[in-house]
Symmetry: C2
Subunit: 221 residues, 2 copies
DNA sequence: CGACAAAGTTTGATGAGTCAAACTAGAGAG
DNA sequence: CTCTCTAGTTTGACTCATCAAACTTTGTCG
């Protein structure tokens, strides 16, 4: 198995590549995400390239090889199953489970992981609505559009939140906007860069486009 | 928090000190248990002494300070709660959980640990019958005598097995001698260094004194 | 006592992962 | 076309945990 450090780099490269249009990660961002200096990130990328886990050329972008992708998906599976377990079984607050899973994901063995999966009934998404890769590494499609992209008056169901930042998650939970919740998009004010949403049976919430972009929903007839 | 390596040394010193009449661990045994050379163990002991976790003098025995004991009990609590969880919640075979817990115990945070404790209903012993230290570090008394010390004909209840070796645990499970089981000690043959035991409703088992010394029981009327 | 084995210690080196700081490539502004 | 800024790279050093091998202590047995 890859070391803890290697796993963290792979996970970060995977995430950055997914959110970038070019499908490649930049060294500066990578270093920031992993929490090291750019020099450290550069030398680690060389090692990862030598191990055929990433594609890397001097001053070029960084991306995962097939082998690296497989490893990243495995880490993602561990991370998301652990998060699900922490929320479902141990009843921990979903705003803290990301950090906890970050530590545990490196220590859990395949045997324990599969037992966890069984115990949880083979869930397909984690508490944030992110898909859990299956044992073979296949990841379900991420569905839904950002709340800010709906028309005023749309009836929606929230399916996913795409940020693990504690403050954001607490905001979402406080206003009852967790995945699974039905809601109505009352207003989309392009000039004010803000929207108003009413989750079923709860108070109406206002939020800026920045936040609305991180809450994904699908239309509900 | 102490590093993973440090935690392993503390755990090993604690275990060795407990099983030694002098209450101190020897360097050779310590190195073997931790899985390093004696040179490595010596230098680590110096570091631990500098951190006031162990008492150590050149060519003298090694023992834990109060601070080291507290740390060791904390690790033991994590280890045993995790083992209990793996058996009780995830239904893993008790002969493998020791190794699994060994890895997870270093990654679990206080928040997750206490949630686990709550989920399990604050158990006082782990699946092997070993006491689980409470949050304050207090450890219950280990009760019971070795099976080999009973008189022939004693009706007993098995309370603990004091070895984590896979083959031994499988032997115990195969013959239904897990903690909690009621049994009768049929015969204690001092000359043959062997005993015969019949667990309630199961077949009679023979075992040498060596094995019998690792199965602890208490009298049952 | 003296010799020897076993236990313990020291030393020098290694690999992983990291940082700070000096340096280089490339892209956009004037 | 050059200047400058930013991203990226290189280098040298450091810490942690480790090993192999040379060396020292201690205790035991003849």
């Amino acid at each position: 198995m890859a070391s803890e450090a290697v796993e963290n780099y792979l996970k970060a490269i995977d995430a950055l590549a997914h959110e970038s249009p070019t499908g490649e990660a930049g060294m500066k961002r990578l270093a920031t995400v992993v929490g090291v200096t750019t020099g450290t990130a550069t030398s680690m990328c060389k090692k990862l390239a030598a191990a055929r886990l990433v594609k890397y050329e001097r001053f070029g972008g960084i991306s995962l090889t097939a082998k690296g992708q497989a490893a990243a998906r495995d880490i993602l599976r561990r991370h998301r199953l652990i998060e699900t377990f922490l929320v479902e079984t141990l009843k921990l607050d979903w705003s803290v489970v990301h950090a906890e899973a970050e530590r545990l994901e490196h220590a859990i063995s395949p045997v324990v992981l599969e037992a966890l999966d069984r115990h949880l009934g083979h869930p397909s998404v984690d508490p944030h609505g992110d898909p859990i890769p299956d044992g073979a590494g296949a990841v379900g499609e991420t569905s839904g559009r950002a709340l800010g992209e709906f028309e005023a008056g749309s009836r929606v169901r929230i399916v996913r939140v795409s940020d693990q930042e504690k403050g954001f998650l607490e905001f979402v939970a406080r206003h009852g906007l967790k995945p699974g919740t039905a809601a109505v998009v009352n207003q989309v004010d392009r000039a004010a860069q803000a929207i108003r949403v009413t989750p079923d049976g709860l108070a109406t919430v206002s939020m800026g486009f920045g936040v609305a972009a991180k809450i994904m929903a699908e239309s509900r007839g």
